[in-house]
Symmetry: C2
Subunit: 195 residues, 2 copies
Amino acid sequence: MKKNKKEAILNAAIKLFSAKGFKETHMSEISKMTGAAEGTIVYHFKNKENLFLTILTEFQENIVAEFARYNKEKKLKTGLAMVEDIISFYLQLANSMEDRFLLLHRHEAYVRAHASAAFRTHLEAIYTCFVDMFERAINLGKKDGSIGVVPARKTAIIIFGMVDAVLRFNTYGLYNAGTLFNELNLASRRILTAG
Amino acid sequence: MKKNKKEAILNAAIKLFSAKGFKETHMSEISKMTGAAEGTIVYHFKNKENLFLTILTEFQENIVAEFARYNKEKKLKTGLAMVEDIISFYLQLANSMEDRFLLLHRHEAYVRAHASAAFRTHLEAIYTCFVDMFERAINLGKKDGSIGVVPARKTAIIIFGMVDAVLRFNTYGLYNAGTLFNELNLASRRILTAG
DNA sequence: GTCTTAACTGAGCGCTCACTCAGTTTTTTA
DNA sequence: TAAAAAACTGAGTGAGCGCTCAGTTAAGAC
């Protein structure tokens, strides 16, 4: 039963980084949680910073894959219906990848992005991915008439931000996302149709 | 020229905490930045955690004061106009208290809030303050007819979240807040009037 | 001027933590 | 099955950190 401690380390690190933060998570904790020696962590990931970057890289790849899958599979009638569906998709995704989204909502990654181009690239890719989804749906809606005259990109950013904010409030324990779900859909519909 | 290093320490700590985070900011850096000895920091604030809490406490008091001042001074014609004005007010406030808002957008404070009731109370007070502002304007608008039938509290949360998201995107260098300002106003107007 | 109190200093201490490395165990290769 | 490669171990190390404390300097009281 040697081998494959790598995966376990990665999973433990995701949990700990998202719950406690980068600096506050210690190699000894990851070690204890996985049963792997600290040396093993270094053996696989070189150092703590690189472990963090590896997690972010995999997360980005996952998101992009989900995005591609969604775009292929889902064929909804109108662009407006698609926007609403993407809101649900996003909230469900956040639910099933809770810890990694928590990581995304931490500020830390953005601090690191200032120093490291790799961090920056990954973060931008993730956000762009989501905004692109909304933008695409808005453009479709403008064509099929379900969405009025709005600037697609900017409106996509606004709506994505609105949804993400609710998610963040939920994460921070300030307001419950579930009770705001209907308002979220209502608000997006109004933003898109009044034009 | 003795005395009043306290203020300097507070200002330096705000800058450093918001730029680098709690754990990543070292007493030695605050010391170097202010010219005060590390012992002086401890003399005034007991320890690092308490220094952080002091900053948050002062910030909350500032916000509440600004809120009270705004509510007394500003008398706009309609509730809808008031909502739009609050959006500007919020963005201006964030601009003039940039570092403290950055602190608010860090996740750290919320992690600490889980352990410390004091942190939690301050954070909730700050958010509640802003949501209250929006809610009050929405209720006024519903009475004067400028705003349609919407659930005031929930809609206030949604709009506040939307505005705060744009601010955060700006902070992270993802999208520019200035170019989204018009869309922000347009979106809020649509959310509030279509009902 | 003298005494008291508050503000301030910085070398030093104890501790934590990321990372090293020489060695062991398992898996793969031939 | 023997040799080579890969995976893994954990005591040890050294750098860095928050905080202490005995002492110094300045401000205010009388």
